[in-house]
């Protein structure tokens, strides 16, 4: 695994915008960054990332069985009690799931360490599945990369296959928060793939979802039988329409049981069950005591690096503010992100259905990866 500087393709921004990538720049700073790429060996990809991803995914699924029947664990994960039965029912009914992403600290040697699961509303999907793929093909065509360079990125193929096999109710709706351009981009990408898989897709702004007698309805008042929502379950469970979730005859993607795996509390539970597993870090529910050097504290429910407190091995404290200070916390042993040319590098490893489906790399100048962290492409070359 190494980081190699390279020249951006001339005119790539205009091209990006022409294919719907409207969030390539974040607050004036580059988000998509093609001034460098990472190179992996095939063995690194297959043995250190792909195999552990599928193994950890199965371990997480096995854990769901333990959680849904344990009041103690449901309480530890702060799942609101009125929804316990619905979570259990959603799991027992084997409601299908589409995708997830796990984040790793990995430097090319030794086992990748699982930092967390993003199993409800994972993003950076378009950048990984489409734009990174196009970058590789384009660079190969220009002779700017060695012939034979490949990429661990079957994301779009696997998503299309999943959409064609999920047998979704139709029309199938996709919803995201109106104000988020990035989330709309992600949803547009998923709708595009679903459309190619033959799904009759409709978009509805999340805030426009309606309720008639406890049934979710579209703008014309027709029942919504299938809904992809790019909006976290933990929010939905505490908003005005929370009770609608219990009564509406709607198949959700991701299904309700995914709220267990998108919760950081899954990390201590994984450690309890599989203590010593090479890809896991010691993790515990937070008892409120002072952090020891080499540990970090993060909320049960948060995203994009928000509200994380971290103490390096030499006792330096790092904190990241954010809007997620209202849930419980866990603590996890620090697996400091590796540094390449002064960049801290994090690997997001995708799962579609139950298969590993590729990686996307984020870089930041801090140990905490955030929504503004740059996305850098990668290649496989032996």
């Amino acid at each position: 695994m190494k980081r190699i500087n390279c020249n951006p393709r001339p005119g790539w921004k205009a091209f990006a915008e022409s294919v719907g990538f409207n969030f390539h720049t974040f607050d004036g700073e580059p988000y998509w960054d093609e001034t460098a790429y990472y190179q992996f060996s095939l063995a690194q990809i297959e043995q250190d990332l792909e195999d552990p991803t599928e193994q950890l995914h199965q371990m997480a699924l096995d854990l769901v069985d333990d959680i849904v029947t344990s009041e103690q664990k449901l309480t530890q994960l702060a799942i609101p009690e009125p929804f316990w039965d619905a979570v259990l029912a959603s799991w027992r009914a084997k409601e299908p799931h589409l995708y997830g992403r796990m984040d790793f600290s990995y430097n090319g040697k030794g086992p990748a360490k699982l930092l967390e699961l993003n199993y409800d509303t994972p993003t950076s999907l378009y950048e990984t599945g489409f734009f990174q793929w196009v970058w590789l093909e384009d660079m190969l065509m220009r002779g700017a990369l060695p012939q034979g360079a490949d990429q661990f990125n079957s994301l779009q193929d696997k998503l299309q296959q999943a959409f064609s096999e999920l047998n979704l109710p139709q029309p199938f709706y996709f919803a995201s928060v109106t104000e988020s351009i990035e989330d709309k981009g992600t949803v547009d990408y998923l709708m595009d793939i679903a459309l190619q898989a033959g799904v009759n897709c409709r978009y509805i702004q999340l805030e426009q979802l309606g309720d008639i007698d406890g049934q979710l309805v579209d703008l014309d008042g027709f029942p919504i039988q299938g809904l992809f929502k790019l909006y976290p379950w933990e929010f939905m469970l505490q908003e005005d329409f929370a009770s609608t979730i219990l009564t509406s005859q709607t198949q959700f993607i991701e299904p309700l049981w995914k709220c267990l795996l998108s919760n950081k509390g899954i990390l201590p539970l994984l450690w309890q069950k599989y203590q010593g597993h090479p890809n896991l870090l010691p993790a515990f529910f937070d008892d409120g005591s002072n952090l020891q050097p080499g540990w970090l504290r993060k909320p049960l429910l948060s995203r994009e690096g928000a509200n994380i407190e971290l103490l390096t091995d030499d006792g330096k404290r790092l904190t990241q503010d954010g809007p997620y200070n209202d849930s419980g916390y866990i603590r996890q042993q620090l697996a400091a992100l590796p540094q390449f040319d002064n960049n801290y590098t994090l690997i997001g490893s995708w799962v579609v259905g139950d298969s590993a489906a590729g990686i996307g790399i984020r870089e930041d100048n801090s140990l905490i990866t955030k929504d503004s962290s740059r996305f850098v492409p990668h290649i496989i070359l032996d």
């Binding site: 022409s18 719907g20 993003n118 509303t121 993003t123 599945g129 489409f130 196009v134 490949d150 990429q151 661990f152 990125n153 079957s154 994301l155 696997k158 109710p169 029309p171 104000e179 988020s180 990035e182 989330d183 547009d188 990408y189 595009d192 459309l195 190619q196 009759n200 999340l206 805030e207 426009q208 979802l209 309606g210 309720d211 008639i212 007698d213 049934q215 979710l216 309805v217 014309d220 008042g221 027709f222 029942p223 039988q225 790019l230 909006y231 976290p232 929010f235 505490q238 908003e239 005005d240 329409f241 609608t244 509406s248 995203r303 994009e304 809007p323 997620y324 590729g358 929504d371 496989i380």
Partner: protein, 209 residues
């Protein structure tokens, strides 16, 4: 191909890449011919395929509880539609598929007029007779004129009206209408804005992660 690649074979987009878009304005909308009937038997008597008549009637019947105007009590409903012409409105529940609807039997506490006839929007597509009703997709049944229930008001028992009170015909058979005037809307008012409050409170560029 000998080599096993680790990347997608293709990655194409069909929707995100904007085509030279054609925006259809509302002006110059052409009327289309539809048929209205009291019953499926009457429909068949007008030389329509009986199976299609039954299917159109079934679709209209399924739509009826979703689009019929709703009243808080029976008296108000009967004022508009006549004594004995109203029924209790069920809770609207999701269908398994749009062609085989399942209506909840649970009463919503509201009242609605009884369905007095139906409009068949699909059968006159003589060029497109191949599409059997049970194979029609949701978009096909909704466009341009969905099969839908019709009603008759208390003071005008001969005129067929849509759920939104658009008069469409005064006798059974073929009639001509503008599609935009007869698009069904849900009869009951949806509550909206029940999701998204957390997003508004926690300002962020994304609610994924």
């Amino acid at each position: 191909m000998n080599q096993q690649f680790k990347r997608s074979k293709t990655a194409r987009l069909i929707m995100m890449v904007p085509a030279a878009g054609l925006v259809l304005a509302g002006c110059g909308e052409k009327p289309v011919e539809v048929q209205v009937f009291n019953t499926p038997d009457e429909c068949a008597a007008y030389y329509n395929p009986p199976a299609e008549c039954k299917a159109a009637f079934a679709e209209a019947k399924a739509l009826h509880p979703q689009v019929a105007p709703r009243y808080a009590n029976k008296q108000e409903c009967e004022t508009d539609f006549g004594i004995g012409q109203c029924e209790s409105a069920p809770v609207v529940a999701a269908n398994n598929t749009e062609s085989t609807p399942q209506q909840s039997q649970q009463s919503s506490g509201f009242f609605m007029p009884m369905m007095m006839g139906f409009m068949a929007g699909q059968m006159l597509n003589r060029g497109g007779m191949a599409s059997a009703p049970q194979q029609q997709t949701a978009s096909a049944t909704r466009s341009p004129v969905p099969n839908q229930p019709l009603y008759k008001s208390r003071d005008d028992r001969s005129t067929f009206r849509t759920a939104t009170n658009t008069a469409v015909a005064s006798q059974p058979g073929t009639t001509s209408i503008r599609p935009s005037a007869v698009q069904p809307k849900a009869g009951s008012l949806a509550r909206r804005g029940g999701f998204g409050a957390q997003a508004a409170r926690r300002s962020s560029s994304s609610f994924g992660g």
